[in-house]
Amino acid sequence: MSRIDRWFTNWTRSVARRSSRRSFLAQLAAVVVGGSTLPLLPVARAQGNAKAPAPDEPDASKAAGDPGECDYWRHCAIDGFLCSCCGGTQKSCPPGTEMSPVTWIGTCHNPADGKDYIISYNDCCGKHVCGLCYCHRNEGDKPEYFAARSNDINWCFGTKSIVYNCSTAIVLGVATEK
Protein backbone atom coordinates (compact mmCIF):
# COMPACT_ATOMS: atom_id res chain seq x y z
CA MET A 1 0.00 0.00 0.00
CA SER A 2 1.43 3.35 -0.99
CA ARG A 3 1.89 6.18 1.47
CA ILE A 4 -0.99 8.09 -0.16
CA ASP A 5 -3.26 5.04 0.12
CA ARG A 6 -2.38 4.65 3.79
CA TRP A 7 -2.96 8.34 4.48
CA PHE A 8 -6.33 8.28 2.70
CA THR A 9 -7.37 5.10 4.53
CA ASN A 10 -6.43 6.58 7.89
CA TRP A 11 -8.15 9.84 7.10
CA THR A 12 -11.44 8.21 6.05
CA ARG A 13 -11.38 5.98 9.14
CA SER A 14 -10.77 9.03 11.28
CA VAL A 15 -13.71 10.85 9.69
CA ALA A 16 -15.88 7.78 10.15
CA ARG A 17 -14.99 7.64 13.85
CA ARG A 18 -15.72 11.32 14.40
CA SER A 19 -18.94 11.62 12.44
CA SER A 20 -22.21 9.75 12.49
CA ARG A 21 -24.45 8.78 9.60
CA ARG A 22 -27.00 11.16 11.05
CA SER A 23 -24.75 14.19 10.90
CA PHE A 24 -23.56 13.21 7.44
CA LEU A 25 -27.14 13.06 6.19
CA ALA A 26 -27.91 16.34 7.89
CA GLN A 27 -24.99 18.07 6.20
CA LEU A 28 -25.76 16.41 2.90
CA ALA A 29 -29.32 17.64 3.20
CA ALA A 30 -28.03 21.11 3.96
CA VAL A 31 -26.02 21.02 0.75
CA VAL A 32 -29.10 19.86 -1.14
CA VAL A 33 -31.22 22.63 0.35
CA GLY A 34 -28.53 25.20 -0.24
CA GLY A 35 -28.09 23.96 -3.77
CA SER A 36 -31.76 24.37 -4.45
CA THR A 37 -31.42 28.11 -3.93
CA LEU A 38 -28.78 28.44 -6.67
CA PRO A 39 -29.81 29.30 -10.22
CA LEU A 40 -30.85 26.12 -11.96
CA LEU A 41 -29.00 24.87 -14.99
CA PRO A 42 -31.04 24.24 -18.12
CA VAL A 43 -31.62 20.53 -17.48
CA ALA A 44 -34.67 18.72 -18.81
CA ARG A 45 -37.59 18.47 -16.43
CA ALA A 46 -39.71 15.34 -16.36
CA GLN A 47 -42.71 17.26 -17.60
CA GLY A 48 -41.02 20.15 -19.33
CA ASN A 49 -42.82 21.96 -22.09
CA ALA A 50 -43.07 18.96 -24.35
CA LYS A 51 -46.78 19.35 -24.91
CA ALA A 52 -48.00 21.75 -27.53
CA PRO A 53 -49.61 24.93 -26.17
CA ALA A 54 -53.36 25.03 -26.28
CA PRO A 55 -54.92 27.54 -28.67
CA ASP A 56 -55.69 30.93 -27.16
CA GLU A 57 -53.49 30.20 -24.15
CA PRO A 58 -50.41 32.14 -23.06
CA ASP A 59 -46.97 31.30 -24.44
CA ALA A 60 -46.11 27.84 -23.09
CA SER A 61 -42.52 28.91 -22.45
CA LYS A 62 -43.79 31.30 -19.76
CA ALA A 63 -45.15 30.18 -16.40
CA ALA A 64 -48.60 31.58 -17.17
CA GLY A 65 -48.82 29.22 -20.14
CA ASP A 66 -47.15 26.14 -18.62
CA PRO A 67 -49.62 23.66 -17.03
CA GLY A 68 -46.73 22.24 -15.01
CA GLU A 69 -46.25 25.55 -13.19
CA CYS A 70 -48.19 26.81 -10.19
CA ASP A 71 -48.38 30.22 -11.90
CA TYR A 72 -50.27 28.74 -14.89
CA TRP A 73 -53.26 31.00 -15.47
CA ARG A 74 -55.89 28.33 -14.75
CA HIS A 75 -54.42 27.54 -11.32
CA CYS A 76 -55.62 30.72 -9.62
CA ALA A 77 -57.74 28.85 -7.04
CA ILE A 78 -56.14 25.42 -6.96
CA ASP A 79 -54.97 23.56 -3.86
CA GLY A 80 -53.22 20.31 -4.56
CA PHE A 81 -50.78 18.50 -6.79
CA LEU A 82 -50.84 19.37 -10.47
CA CYS A 83 -51.96 16.47 -12.66
CA SER A 84 -49.74 17.87 -15.42
CA CYS A 85 -46.78 16.74 -13.33
CA CYS A 86 -48.31 13.36 -12.42
CA GLY A 87 -48.99 11.60 -15.72
CA GLY A 88 -52.10 13.56 -16.63
CA THR A 89 -52.65 17.03 -18.04
CA GLN A 90 -54.47 20.15 -16.95
CA LYS A 91 -57.68 18.58 -18.32
CA SER A 92 -57.14 14.84 -17.85
CA CYS A 93 -56.29 12.46 -15.01
CA PRO A 94 -53.22 10.20 -14.81
CA PRO A 95 -53.63 6.60 -16.00
CA GLY A 96 -55.54 4.34 -13.64
CA THR A 97 -57.15 7.13 -11.64
CA GLU A 98 -60.77 8.24 -11.77
CA MET A 99 -61.93 11.84 -12.19
CA SER A 100 -64.35 13.12 -9.58
CA PRO A 101 -67.63 14.26 -11.18
CA VAL A 102 -68.21 16.97 -8.55
CA THR A 103 -65.76 19.69 -7.68
CA TRP A 104 -65.08 23.28 -6.71
CA ILE A 105 -64.79 26.09 -9.21
CA GLY A 106 -62.70 29.21 -9.58
CA THR A 107 -62.71 32.18 -11.93
CA CYS A 108 -59.34 32.83 -13.54
CA HIS A 109 -58.08 35.51 -15.91
CA ASN A 110 -56.49 34.34 -19.16
CA PRO A 111 -53.78 36.87 -20.07
CA ALA A 112 -53.72 35.58 -23.66
CA ASP A 113 -57.18 36.84 -24.55
CA GLY A 114 -57.97 39.06 -21.57
CA LYS A 115 -61.08 37.08 -20.63
CA ASP A 116 -62.12 35.52 -17.31
CA TYR A 117 -62.96 31.83 -17.38
CA ILE A 118 -64.81 29.48 -15.03
CA ILE A 119 -62.37 26.74 -14.09
CA SER A 120 -63.43 23.37 -12.68
CA TYR A 121 -60.78 21.79 -10.44
CA ASN A 122 -61.79 18.13 -10.71
CA ASP A 123 -59.72 15.87 -8.50
CA CYS A 124 -58.28 12.59 -9.76
CA CYS A 125 -58.88 9.76 -7.31
CA GLY A 126 -58.10 6.15 -6.47
CA LYS A 127 -54.32 6.26 -6.18
CA HIS A 128 -52.33 7.80 -3.35
CA VAL A 129 -51.15 11.35 -3.50
CA CYS A 130 -48.86 12.17 -6.43
CA GLY A 131 -46.67 14.43 -4.32
CA LEU A 132 -45.25 16.45 -7.23
CA CYS A 133 -45.81 20.12 -8.12
CA TYR A 134 -47.74 21.17 -5.01
CA CYS A 135 -49.65 24.35 -5.75
CA HIS A 136 -51.72 26.35 -3.29
CA ARG A 137 -53.44 29.47 -4.64
CA ASN A 138 -56.61 30.87 -3.20
CA GLU A 139 -58.16 33.49 -5.48
CA GLY A 140 -61.83 33.50 -4.53
CA ASP A 141 -61.41 30.54 -2.17
CA LYS A 142 -63.96 30.34 0.66
CA PRO A 143 -64.15 28.27 3.85
CA GLU A 144 -65.70 24.82 3.84
CA TYR A 145 -69.24 25.96 4.70
CA PHE A 146 -69.17 27.64 1.25
CA ALA A 147 -68.44 24.30 -0.34
CA ALA A 148 -68.58 25.05 -4.06
CA ARG A 149 -65.82 27.65 -3.63
CA SER A 150 -63.68 25.76 -1.12
CA ASN A 151 -60.44 24.18 -2.28
CA ASP A 152 -59.72 22.50 1.09
CA ILE A 153 -62.42 19.86 0.74
CA ASN A 154 -61.35 16.48 -0.58
CA TRP A 155 -63.46 16.45 -3.73
CA CYS A 156 -63.07 12.75 -4.49
CA PHE A 157 -66.83 12.13 -4.37
CA GLY A 158 -68.86 9.87 -6.63
CA THR A 159 -65.72 7.88 -7.32
CA LYS A 160 -64.90 4.33 -6.24
CA SER A 161 -62.36 5.66 -3.73
CA ILE A 162 -62.00 8.99 -1.94
CA VAL A 163 -58.20 8.67 -2.02
CA TYR A 164 -56.82 11.83 -3.65
CA ASN A 165 -54.10 11.77 -6.30
CA CYS A 166 -53.95 15.17 -8.08
CA SER A 167 -56.05 18.07 -9.40
CA THR A 168 -56.95 19.19 -12.92
CA ALA A 169 -58.03 22.66 -14.10
CA ILE A 170 -60.68 22.39 -16.78
CA VAL A 171 -62.22 25.32 -18.64
CA LEU A 172 -66.02 25.30 -18.29
CA GLY A 173 -66.65 28.53 -20.15
CA VAL A 174 -66.20 32.29 -20.17
CA ALA A 175 -67.27 33.95 -16.92
CA THR A 176 -69.84 36.68 -17.27
CA GLU A 177 -69.11 38.09 -13.81
CA LYS A 178 -66.20 37.46 -11.45
Binding site: D79, V102, V163
Partner: protein, 415 residues
Protein backbone atom coordinates in the same frame (compact mmCIF):
# COMPACT_ATOMS: atom_id res chain seq x y z
CA UNK B 1 8.67 -11.96 45.10
CA UNK B 2 8.88 -9.58 42.18
CA UNK B 3 7.08 -12.12 39.96
CA UNK B 4 4.27 -12.45 42.51
CA UNK B 5 3.87 -8.70 42.65
CA UNK B 6 3.50 -8.45 38.85
CA UNK B 7 0.92 -11.26 38.90
CA UNK B 8 -1.17 -9.53 41.59
CA UNK B 9 -1.06 -6.21 39.78
CA UNK B 10 -2.10 -7.81 36.48
CA UNK B 11 -4.97 -9.65 38.15
CA UNK B 12 -6.14 -6.43 39.84
CA UNK B 13 -5.95 -4.57 36.52
CA UNK B 14 -8.06 -7.19 34.76
CA UNK B 15 -10.64 -7.19 37.54
CA UNK B 16 -11.10 -3.43 37.80
CA UNK B 17 -10.62 -2.47 34.15
CA UNK B 18 -13.92 -0.89 33.18
CA UNK B 19 -13.59 -1.75 29.51
CA UNK B 20 -14.02 -5.42 30.30
CA UNK B 21 -17.27 -4.98 32.29
CA UNK B 22 -20.03 -7.10 30.83
CA UNK B 23 -23.24 -5.47 29.55
CA UNK B 24 -26.11 -6.89 31.62
CA UNK B 25 -28.44 -9.27 29.87
CA UNK B 26 -31.64 -7.51 28.77
CA UNK B 27 -35.16 -8.80 28.55
CA UNK B 28 -36.77 -8.73 25.07
CA UNK B 29 -40.34 -7.58 24.64
CA UNK B 30 -40.28 -4.35 26.64
CA UNK B 31 -42.57 -1.53 25.47
CA UNK B 32 -42.47 2.01 26.85
CA UNK B 33 -45.40 3.66 28.60
CA UNK B 34 -45.81 7.40 28.79
CA UNK B 35 -44.47 8.73 32.08
CA UNK B 36 -47.29 10.05 34.27
CA UNK B 37 -48.85 12.51 34.81
CA UNK B 38 -49.41 13.97 31.34
CA UNK B 39 -47.38 17.14 30.99
CA UNK B 40 -48.57 20.53 29.81
CA UNK B 41 -45.47 20.80 27.63
CA UNK B 42 -46.28 17.66 25.63
CA UNK B 43 -47.51 18.66 22.19
CA UNK B 44 -49.13 16.60 19.45
CA UNK B 45 -47.84 17.38 15.97
CA UNK B 46 -49.64 16.17 12.86
CA UNK B 47 -47.84 14.82 9.81
CA UNK B 48 -49.81 14.43 6.56
CA UNK B 49 -47.11 12.48 4.76
CA UNK B 50 -46.50 9.95 7.53
CA UNK B 51 -50.24 9.90 8.38
CA UNK B 52 -49.80 10.24 12.12
CA UNK B 53 -49.63 12.55 15.09
CA UNK B 54 -46.44 12.56 17.11
CA UNK B 55 -46.21 13.38 20.80
CA UNK B 56 -43.24 15.64 21.53
CA UNK B 57 -41.85 16.73 24.89
CA UNK B 58 -41.16 20.41 24.23
CA UNK B 59 -38.84 20.75 27.22
CA UNK B 60 -36.25 18.20 26.18
CA UNK B 61 -37.24 17.63 22.55
CA UNK B 62 -37.91 13.92 23.10
CA UNK B 63 -40.16 12.06 20.69
CA UNK B 64 -42.49 10.26 23.11
CA UNK B 65 -44.73 8.28 20.77
CA UNK B 66 -47.33 8.49 18.05
CA UNK B 67 -50.82 7.50 16.94
CA UNK B 68 -52.10 6.73 13.46
CA UNK B 69 -55.37 7.90 12.02
CA UNK B 70 -56.14 6.37 8.66
CA UNK B 71 -56.57 8.39 5.49
CA UNK B 72 -56.22 12.19 5.44
CA UNK B 73 -55.75 14.85 8.08
CA UNK B 74 -56.01 13.88 11.75
CA UNK B 75 -57.59 15.72 14.67
CA UNK B 76 -57.76 13.59 17.84
CA UNK B 77 -60.20 14.45 20.62
CA UNK B 78 -59.04 14.47 24.24
CA UNK B 79 -61.62 13.91 27.00
CA UNK B 80 -61.10 15.66 30.34
CA UNK B 81 -62.51 12.79 32.40
CA UNK B 82 -60.89 9.67 30.90
CA UNK B 83 -57.34 8.78 29.96
CA UNK B 84 -58.35 8.07 26.40
CA UNK B 85 -57.87 9.60 22.97
CA UNK B 86 -60.52 9.45 20.24
CA UNK B 87 -59.47 9.53 16.59
CA UNK B 88 -62.02 9.63 13.74
CA UNK B 89 -60.52 7.86 10.72
CA UNK B 90 -61.19 6.42 7.28
CA UNK B 91 -59.76 3.14 5.98
CA UNK B 92 -59.96 1.11 2.79
CA UNK B 93 -59.67 -2.68 2.88
CA UNK B 94 -56.96 -2.51 0.20
CA UNK B 95 -55.30 0.76 1.27
CA UNK B 96 -56.35 2.96 -1.68
CA UNK B 97 -59.45 1.02 -2.74
CA UNK B 98 -61.79 -1.76 -1.68
CA UNK B 99 -64.37 -1.48 1.06
CA UNK B 100 -64.42 1.80 2.97
CA UNK B 101 -64.78 1.73 6.74
CA UNK B 102 -65.02 4.87 8.88
CA UNK B 103 -64.40 4.54 12.60
CA UNK B 104 -63.79 6.42 15.79
CA UNK B 105 -60.71 4.74 17.19
CA UNK B 106 -60.15 4.69 20.94
CA UNK B 107 -56.61 4.83 22.28
CA UNK B 108 -55.52 4.33 25.86
CA UNK B 109 -53.57 7.52 26.57
CA UNK B 110 -50.82 6.22 28.91
CA UNK B 111 -49.86 3.40 26.53
CA UNK B 112 -51.01 4.90 23.21
CA UNK B 113 -52.51 1.46 22.51
CA UNK B 114 -55.61 0.98 20.38
CA UNK B 115 -58.23 -0.39 22.77
CA UNK B 116 -61.46 -0.11 20.80
CA UNK B 117 -63.41 1.42 17.97
CA UNK B 118 -66.90 2.48 16.95
CA UNK B 119 -67.81 2.00 13.30
CA UNK B 120 -69.59 5.07 11.86
CA UNK B 121 -71.29 5.70 8.49
CA UNK B 122 -68.65 5.75 5.72
CA UNK B 123 -69.18 9.38 4.79
CA UNK B 124 -67.00 11.29 7.21
CA UNK B 125 -65.74 14.52 5.66
CA UNK B 126 -62.06 14.52 4.72
CA UNK B 127 -60.41 17.85 4.11
CA UNK B 128 -57.12 19.71 4.13
CA UNK B 129 -58.48 21.52 7.18
CA UNK B 130 -58.19 19.24 10.20
CA UNK B 131 -60.14 21.42 12.62
CA UNK B 132 -63.90 21.25 13.30
CA UNK B 133 -64.59 17.91 11.60
CA UNK B 134 -65.47 16.22 14.90
CA UNK B 135 -66.34 17.53 18.36
CA UNK B 136 -66.64 16.06 21.84
CA UNK B 137 -69.55 17.11 24.05
CA UNK B 138 -68.53 19.13 27.11
CA UNK B 139 -69.23 16.18 29.44
CA UNK B 140 -67.15 13.80 27.26
CA UNK B 141 -70.18 11.59 26.58
CA UNK B 142 -70.92 12.11 22.86
CA UNK B 143 -68.87 12.71 19.74
CA UNK B 144 -70.37 14.43 16.68
CA UNK B 145 -68.60 13.68 13.40
CA UNK B 146 -69.20 15.93 10.38
CA UNK B 147 -70.29 14.08 7.20
CA UNK B 148 -70.00 15.53 3.71
CA UNK B 149 -71.38 13.80 0.64
CA UNK B 150 -72.45 17.10 -0.94
CA UNK B 151 -75.24 16.66 1.62
CA UNK B 152 -74.28 17.49 5.20
CA UNK B 153 -74.99 15.72 8.50
CA UNK B 154 -73.54 14.72 11.86
CA UNK B 155 -72.95 11.14 13.02
CA UNK B 156 -73.50 10.92 16.79
CA UNK B 157 -71.45 8.42 18.80
CA UNK B 158 -72.01 7.57 22.46
CA UNK B 159 -68.35 7.14 23.33
CA UNK B 160 -69.05 6.00 26.91
CA UNK B 161 -71.20 3.14 25.61
CA UNK B 162 -69.02 2.84 22.50
CA UNK B 163 -72.00 2.75 20.16
CA UNK B 164 -73.25 4.68 17.16
CA UNK B 165 -76.45 6.52 18.10
CA UNK B 166 -77.53 7.85 14.70
CA UNK B 167 -77.34 10.71 12.27
CA UNK B 168 -78.64 14.29 12.33
CA UNK B 169 -78.95 16.25 9.10
CA UNK B 170 -77.54 19.79 8.98
CA UNK B 171 -78.91 21.12 5.67
CA UNK B 172 -76.67 23.77 4.15
CA UNK B 173 -74.42 23.88 7.21
CA UNK B 174 -70.96 22.41 7.70
CA UNK B 175 -68.35 21.55 10.31
CA UNK B 176 -69.07 20.95 14.01
CA UNK B 177 -68.16 22.70 17.26
CA UNK B 178 -68.98 21.76 20.85
CA UNK B 179 -71.38 24.07 22.71
CA UNK B 180 -72.28 22.32 25.96
CA UNK B 181 -72.87 18.82 27.31
CA UNK B 182 -75.71 18.13 24.86
CA UNK B 183 -75.24 20.76 22.17
CA UNK B 184 -73.23 21.28 18.98
CA UNK B 185 -73.28 23.94 16.29
CA UNK B 186 -72.31 24.14 12.62
CA UNK B 187 -71.67 27.13 10.33
CA UNK B 188 -73.98 27.71 7.39
CA UNK B 189 -73.41 29.07 3.91
CA UNK B 190 -75.55 32.14 4.63
CA UNK B 191 -73.47 33.17 7.65
CA UNK B 192 -75.78 31.73 10.31
CA UNK B 193 -75.17 28.99 12.88
CA UNK B 194 -77.09 25.70 13.01
CA UNK B 195 -77.57 24.62 16.62
CA UNK B 196 -78.45 21.03 17.50
CA UNK B 197 -79.29 19.77 20.98
CA UNK B 198 -79.46 16.07 21.81
CA UNK B 199 -81.03 14.15 24.66
CA UNK B 200 -79.29 11.82 27.11
CA UNK B 201 -79.48 8.99 24.61
CA UNK B 202 -77.83 11.12 21.90
CA UNK B 203 -80.90 11.57 19.74
CA UNK B 204 -81.96 14.94 18.36
CA UNK B 205 -83.95 17.01 20.83
CA UNK B 206 -84.13 20.30 18.95
CA UNK B 207 -82.61 22.25 16.11
CA UNK B 208 -82.55 25.93 15.22
CA UNK B 209 -80.86 28.17 12.73
CA UNK B 210 -79.73 31.54 14.03
CA UNK B 211 -79.79 34.80 12.17
CA UNK B 212 -76.66 35.39 10.06
CA UNK B 213 -73.87 36.76 12.26
CA UNK B 214 -71.39 37.47 9.45
CA UNK B 215 -71.48 38.04 5.69
CA UNK B 216 -69.92 34.96 4.05
CA UNK B 217 -69.56 36.68 0.68
CA UNK B 218 -68.11 40.00 1.81
CA UNK B 219 -65.97 38.84 4.74
CA UNK B 220 -66.18 35.14 5.64
CA UNK B 221 -64.88 33.75 8.93
CA UNK B 222 -62.36 30.91 8.71
CA UNK B 223 -63.13 27.42 10.02
CA UNK B 224 -60.21 27.67 12.46
CA UNK B 225 -61.94 29.10 15.52
CA UNK B 226 -60.67 28.51 19.06
CA UNK B 227 -62.60 28.10 22.27
CA UNK B 228 -61.74 30.08 25.40
CA UNK B 229 -64.00 28.93 28.22
CA UNK B 230 -67.55 29.26 26.93
CA UNK B 231 -66.63 31.55 24.04
CA UNK B 232 -65.71 30.49 20.54
CA UNK B 233 -63.57 33.06 18.73
CA UNK B 234 -63.46 33.13 14.93
CA UNK B 235 -61.47 35.50 12.73
CA UNK B 236 -62.67 36.75 9.35
CA UNK B 237 -60.49 37.16 6.26
CA UNK B 238 -60.44 40.94 6.90
CA UNK B 239 -59.51 40.56 10.58
CA UNK B 240 -62.86 40.86 12.39
CA UNK B 241 -63.18 38.76 15.57
CA UNK B 242 -66.60 37.09 15.85
CA UNK B 243 -67.31 35.66 19.30
CA UNK B 244 -70.01 33.06 19.95
CA UNK B 245 -71.02 32.70 23.60
CA UNK B 246 -72.24 29.15 24.37
CA UNK B 247 -72.61 29.59 28.15
CA UNK B 248 -76.39 30.00 28.29
CA UNK B 249 -79.44 28.08 27.11
CA UNK B 250 -79.31 30.08 23.87
CA UNK B 251 -76.09 30.75 22.07
CA UNK B 252 -75.34 34.46 21.68
CA UNK B 253 -73.10 36.54 19.47
CA UNK B 254 -70.90 39.25 20.97
CA UNK B 255 -70.41 42.48 19.09
CA UNK B 256 -67.64 41.82 16.52
CA UNK B 257 -64.36 43.60 17.10
CA UNK B 258 -61.27 44.08 14.96
CA UNK B 259 -57.94 42.38 15.31
CA UNK B 260 -56.42 45.04 13.04
CA UNK B 261 -56.23 48.82 13.40
CA UNK B 262 -56.45 51.22 10.47
CA UNK B 263 -52.66 51.54 10.61
CA UNK B 264 -52.31 47.77 10.47
CA UNK B 265 -54.58 47.60 7.41
CA UNK B 266 -52.66 50.41 5.73
CA UNK B 267 -49.51 48.34 6.23
CA UNK B 268 -51.29 45.32 4.63
CA UNK B 269 -51.36 43.19 7.80
CA UNK B 270 -53.81 40.29 7.60
CA UNK B 271 -54.68 37.18 9.57
CA UNK B 272 -53.87 33.89 7.84
CA UNK B 273 -52.44 30.40 8.03
CA UNK B 274 -53.67 26.84 8.45
CA UNK B 275 -54.02 27.10 12.25
CA UNK B 276 -53.87 30.84 12.74
CA UNK B 277 -55.55 31.20 16.15
CA UNK B 278 -54.55 29.85 19.56
CA UNK B 279 -55.72 30.58 23.09
CA UNK B 280 -54.39 30.46 26.63
CA UNK B 281 -57.36 29.52 28.81
CA UNK B 282 -56.21 30.81 32.21
CA UNK B 283 -55.17 34.29 31.07
CA UNK B 284 -57.88 34.48 28.37
CA UNK B 285 -55.33 35.56 25.82
CA UNK B 286 -55.86 35.14 22.09
CA UNK B 287 -52.89 34.53 19.80
CA UNK B 288 -53.33 35.43 16.11
CA UNK B 289 -50.93 34.59 13.29
CA UNK B 290 -50.54 37.52 10.86
CA UNK B 291 -48.65 38.38 7.68
CA UNK B 292 -48.44 41.22 5.19
CA UNK B 293 -50.36 40.46 2.01
CA UNK B 294 -53.32 41.21 -0.20
CA UNK B 295 -56.77 39.68 -0.66
CA UNK B 296 -57.01 35.86 -0.91
CA UNK B 297 -53.97 35.34 1.34
CA UNK B 298 -56.01 33.85 4.20
CA UNK B 299 -53.95 30.64 4.19
CA UNK B 300 -50.55 32.21 3.60
CA UNK B 301 -47.80 31.60 6.16
CA UNK B 302 -47.43 34.15 8.95
CA UNK B 303 -44.52 36.28 10.09
CA UNK B 304 -45.75 37.60 13.45
CA UNK B 305 -48.10 36.51 16.24
CA UNK B 306 -50.24 39.22 17.82
CA UNK B 307 -51.48 38.67 21.36
CA UNK B 308 -54.84 40.04 22.57
CA UNK B 309 -56.67 40.23 25.86
CA UNK B 310 -60.06 38.70 25.10
CA UNK B 311 -61.94 40.84 27.63
CA UNK B 312 -60.58 44.27 26.67
CA UNK B 313 -59.78 43.41 23.00
CA UNK B 314 -56.49 45.21 23.59
CA UNK B 315 -53.43 44.02 21.73
CA UNK B 316 -50.83 43.16 24.35
CA UNK B 317 -47.86 42.08 22.31
CA UNK B 318 -46.41 41.55 18.84
CA UNK B 319 -44.15 38.52 18.58
CA UNK B 320 -41.82 38.57 15.59
CA UNK B 321 -41.36 35.00 14.39
CA UNK B 322 -38.30 33.21 13.08
CA UNK B 323 -38.21 30.16 10.86
CA UNK B 324 -39.19 27.04 12.87
CA UNK B 325 -36.23 25.15 11.42
CA UNK B 326 -35.53 22.72 8.64
CA UNK B 327 -35.61 18.95 8.62
CA UNK B 328 -35.58 16.67 5.62
CA UNK B 329 -37.15 13.21 5.85
CA UNK B 330 -36.76 13.26 9.59
CA UNK B 331 -33.16 14.43 9.64
CA UNK B 332 -32.65 17.81 11.35
CA UNK B 333 -30.57 20.39 9.54
CA UNK B 334 -28.69 21.49 12.64
CA UNK B 335 -25.39 22.56 11.18
CA UNK B 336 -22.91 24.03 13.60
CA UNK B 337 -23.93 22.10 16.68
CA UNK B 338 -20.42 20.71 17.10
CA UNK B 339 -18.56 23.72 15.79
CA UNK B 340 -16.33 25.88 17.95
CA UNK B 341 -17.87 28.99 19.51
CA UNK B 342 -18.77 31.48 18.08
CA UNK B 343 -19.07 29.65 14.75
CA UNK B 344 -21.61 27.24 16.24
CA UNK B 345 -24.07 30.14 16.46
CA UNK B 346 -23.64 31.13 12.83
CA UNK B 347 -26.18 28.73 11.18
CA UNK B 348 -28.87 29.68 13.70
CA UNK B 349 -28.11 33.35 13.19
CA UNK B 350 -28.43 32.92 9.43
CA UNK B 351 -31.73 31.02 9.85
CA UNK B 352 -33.12 33.62 12.25
CA UNK B 353 -31.99 36.56 10.14
CA UNK B 354 -32.27 35.55 6.51
CA UNK B 355 -34.89 32.78 6.25
CA UNK B 356 -38.58 33.77 6.10
CA UNK B 357 -40.61 32.82 9.18
CA UNK B 358 -42.98 30.72 7.04
CA UNK B 359 -45.26 29.71 9.93
CA UNK B 360 -48.58 27.99 9.08
CA UNK B 361 -49.55 26.59 12.50
CA UNK B 362 -49.50 28.03 16.02
CA UNK B 363 -50.52 26.63 19.40
CA UNK B 364 -50.07 27.55 23.07
CA UNK B 365 -49.54 25.26 26.07
CA UNK B 366 -52.04 25.64 28.90
CA UNK B 367 -49.80 25.88 31.97
CA UNK B 368 -48.68 28.95 33.92
CA UNK B 369 -45.40 29.17 32.00
CA UNK B 370 -46.92 28.73 28.55
CA UNK B 371 -45.00 28.11 25.38
CA UNK B 372 -46.03 29.42 21.98
CA UNK B 373 -45.38 26.72 19.38
CA UNK B 374 -44.93 27.40 15.66
CA UNK B 375 -44.62 25.06 12.68
CA UNK B 376 -44.36 25.20 8.90
CA UNK B 377 -46.25 22.66 6.79
CA UNK B 378 -43.13 21.88 4.76
CA UNK B 379 -40.88 20.61 7.53
CA UNK B 380 -40.92 18.61 10.75
CA UNK B 381 -39.56 21.26 13.11
CA UNK B 382 -41.06 23.43 15.84
CA UNK B 383 -40.19 26.94 16.99
CA UNK B 384 -40.74 27.65 20.69
CA UNK B 385 -41.34 31.04 22.32
CA UNK B 386 -42.17 32.24 25.81
CA UNK B 387 -45.89 32.87 25.28
CA UNK B 388 -46.02 35.54 27.99
CA UNK B 389 -42.89 37.49 27.11
CA UNK B 390 -42.71 36.73 23.41
CA UNK B 391 -39.00 35.92 23.20
CA UNK B 392 -37.79 33.09 20.97
CA UNK B 393 -36.42 30.18 23.02
CA UNK B 394 -35.30 27.33 20.79
CA UNK B 395 -36.15 24.87 18.04
CA UNK B 396 -37.30 21.29 18.50
CA UNK B 397 -36.67 18.83 15.68
CA UNK B 398 -37.29 16.46 14.07
CA UNK B 399 -40.96 15.78 14.76
CA UNK B 400 -41.67 14.11 11.42
CA UNK B 401 -41.39 14.87 7.72
CA UNK B 402 -44.03 17.60 7.57
CA UNK B 403 -46.17 19.45 10.11
CA UNK B 404 -49.90 19.85 10.43
CA UNK B 405 -52.29 20.47 13.30
CA UNK B 406 -50.67 21.27 16.69
CA UNK B 407 -52.53 20.23 19.86
CA UNK B 408 -51.68 20.75 23.54
CA UNK B 409 -54.48 18.97 25.42
CA UNK B 410 -52.81 18.29 28.75
CA UNK B 411 -51.93 20.43 31.72
CA UNK B 412 -53.92 23.42 32.82
CA UNK B 413 -56.85 21.17 33.58
CA UNK B 414 -57.58 18.04 35.60
CA UNK B 415 -56.20 15.11 33.66
Amino acid sequence: MKRWLILVLCTAFVLVRPGLAVVPVEKPGQVEHLPQPFDAHWAWVGDLVLERMSLIDLDDGQFLGMINGGYGTMAPLFPKTRNEIYVPGTYYSRRSHGERTDVVEIYDAPTLSLVGEVVIPPKRSTSRVAQAHAALSDDDRFIAIFNWTTGTSLSIVDIEQRTLVGEITTPGCSLVYSAGPRRFFSICGDGSAFVVTIDDSGHELSRLRTKPFFDPRADPITEKGVRIGDKWVFASFEGAAHVIDVSGPEIKFDEPWSLLSDEDRAASWRVGGMQHLAAHQATKRLYSLVHRGGPDTHKVAGEEVWVYDLASHRRLDRIKLVNPGISIMGFPIDLGRNWVWPFNELPNWLLNTLAPANVHFIQVTQDDRPLLITASEYTGSLGLYDAKRGNFLRRVMPTGWTSDLLLTPWGGRDN
